[in-house]
């Protein structure tokens, strides 16, 4: 029980510290602002640890953070291999291919109203297919290795990207397009110098949505057949063996990878669309 009381005590102390920090002059500075969420995160972990130990929760229901951390430290080579298979080979190439294909399709749709009427409904139809139905089929087509996982990711990423790019290409104002006309600009000049820059806020929204979909797609697709490594494979087999600490370790890696991926896109977005009202400071 002492662990529980210690954790609750830590919680109250950290709470008081954060209240004080938020009111103090330190919260105006960079480090001060970073400190508040860090303290909050640490508190969640300590409280979790204290609750699990103090109340004697079974490790199958919820392992303590320290147990998960120990598992990560021991199984680092396995986790790295899984990460390479699922993220570096499955999710990221699929993400890039899907986004690239959506981009080319969006340009084609933009050039031809015929395709606009034909391709968007088809894209919509594909997006409506359930991934649990699609993944086994793609595993049949492309084999157990990462290729089939990348294919699932391509399918998942394609439609949200397409919709966002098509919408983005119409985002420039009429006056801005008229200006291009008065300068006698060609289609590609207007696309490159006006319509693509104006589309960037939409494209980055699409990329952010697609980045989480890519992760989900790559992991879930492994449930339907994979070599004996990969994050989805690890989760499904370790659940069967009641190795919940390993499942949590894999989840931690997935969460970390997802956050880094998303953060990277946000950083690039801030750099590319610095001019947009939502990014100006």
């Amino acid at each position: 029980m002492t662990a529980l009381w210690l954790a609750l005590g830590f919680w109250l102390a950290a709470w008081a510290l954060n209240v004080w920090l938020a009111g103090s002059r330190l919260s105006q500075t960079g480090p001060g602002r970073a400190l508040v969420p860090l303290i909050f995160g640490a508190t969640v972990l300590v409280l979790w640890e204290g609750l699990v130990r103090g109340l004697g929760v079974a490790p199958v229901i919820l392992p303590a953070p320290s147990v998960i951390a120990a598992k990560i430290a021991v199984e680092l080579p396995v986790l790295w291999q899984d990460f390479t298979q699922t993220i570096l080979k499955g999710a990221i190439p699929g993400f890039l291919m899907g986004a690239g294909a959506a981009f080319l399709t969006a340009i084609a749709i933009d050039r031809s109203p015929f395709l606009q009427r034909g391709l968007l409904p088809v894209g919509n139809f594909v997006a409506a297919l359930p991934i649990v139905g699609l993944a086994p089929i793609l595993v049949m087509w492309f084999g157990f290795d990462w290729q089939s996982k990348a294919a699932v990711v391509v399918v998942m990423v394609f439609f949200p990207m397409l919709v966002n790019i098509v919408a983005g290409l119409q985002a420039s104002e009429r006056m801005q397009r008229d200006l291009m006309a008065t300068w006698g600009a060609s289609y590609w000049q207007a696309l490159w110098k006006l319509r693509l820059p104006a589309a960037m806020p939409f494209i980055f929204n699409g990329l952010k949505i697609a980045s989480t979909l890519a992760l989900i797609g790559a992991i879930v697709a492994e449930f339907f057949g994979s070599p004996i490594y990969g994050m989805g494979f690890r989760i499904s087999t370790e659940v069967g063996r009641l190795g919940l600490d390993m499942v949590w370790a894999t989840i931690a890696v997935a969460a970390l990878a997802g956050s880094v991926f998303y953060g990277l896109i946000t950083l690039i977005e801030r750099w590319v669309t610095f001019w947009h009202p939502s990014q100006r400071h």
């Binding site: 104002e173 006056m175 801005q176 008229d178 200006l179 291009m180 006309a181 008065t182 300068w183 006698g184 600009a185 000049q189 110098k193 006006l194 820059p197 104006a198 669309t273 610095f274 001019w275 947009h276 009202p277 100006r280």
Partner: protein, 263 residues
């Protein structure tokens, strides 16, 4: 008026333009006849819906007439557009927010394929002309509305077309800024000798700036009066208190009122 023998820069004969809308056809321009000569400063004035903006857009080939003929430098408007015969200034500055002021001014030059050195040279020169020297590295949203509009004028001047088409360029600005920009525009016109088409709904602005004032009226959009201004080319702001100025302004107002009685 001057050079009446030479060919007009812009010439409309029996021009008609009908928009097809959901409520049926709308006659935006009806039987418009007008010739604009080299070096003229022509204002188009009238209530909204009189077709003044439509006419300017038709000159720029942004709208397409449904009848009659319209020539710009002896060509069709679309040919003239592709030959970059004119600079166009819209109601709002329409600067691209991801480009700096200098980058915006340079944009038409990039599209028209000027060399890098010439782009720099011309950008600097026109920014100087509109008194925005030193603001080239700022982004549009960092400048006031008046400065943004001056930047958009610099952008229209950068490639040195002989014709400048301006659609209520100062409409959104306050009176003091507008006076100042009007004065600067006159100086610029005197210095460059460009042919200017200028849409406005302000009588003092039209009278102050123009060598000719075209009064238009709505439903259907048509020309009701063309007034040649007797004012001298040199025009200090206080010319607006002179008897001649007030007489022309009166005639414009009468013309506008006559147009309204027709409804």
């Amino acid at each position: 008026m001057k050079d009446a023998t030479s060919q007009p820069v812009i010439e409309a004969k029996g021009l008609n333009l009908v928009f097809q809308t959901a409520d049926g056809p709308v006659q935006a321009l009806k039987d418009v006849n007008l010739a604009i000569n080299q070096g003229d400063f022509v204002s188009f004035i009238g209530p909204s819906g009189c077709g003044k903006t439509t006419f300017l857009r038709a000159i720029a080939a942004l709208e397409h007439p449904t009848g009659g003929t319209l020539t710009v430098n002896g060509m069709t408007p679309d040919e003239a557009r592709r030959k970059r015969a004119y600079g166009y200034v819209f109601q709002a500055a329409g600067l691209y927010p991801w480009r700096t002021i200098a980058g915006n001014v340079r944009l038409p030059l990039e599209i028209m394929g000027f060399s890098r050195a010439e782009q720099d040279e011309r950008t600097e020169a026109v920014l100087d002309l509109v008194e925005l020297k030193g603001f080239g590295k700022k982004f549009p949203w960092q400048l006031s509305g008046g400065m943004q509009q001056r930047a958009s004028i610099a952008r229209a001047l950068a490639f040195d077309a002989d014709i400048l088409l301006m659609d209520e360029p100062f409409g959104a600005l306050d009176e003091i800024v507008r006076d100042r920009l009007n004065e600067e525009l006159l100086k610029l016109w005197a210095r460059t000798g460009k042919t200017i088409g200028f849409v406005t709904h302000s009588i003092p602005e039209a009278v102050y700036l123009s060598t000719r004032i075209v009064v238009m009226s709505p439903r259907p959009g048509r020309i009701t009066d063309v007034i040649d201004s007797p004012l001298p080319k040199e025009r200090p702001l206080d010319i607006r208190d002179s008897r001649e100025f007030i007489e022309i302004a009166h005639r414009v107002r009468e013309g506008l009122r006559a147009g309204h009685h027709d409804d």
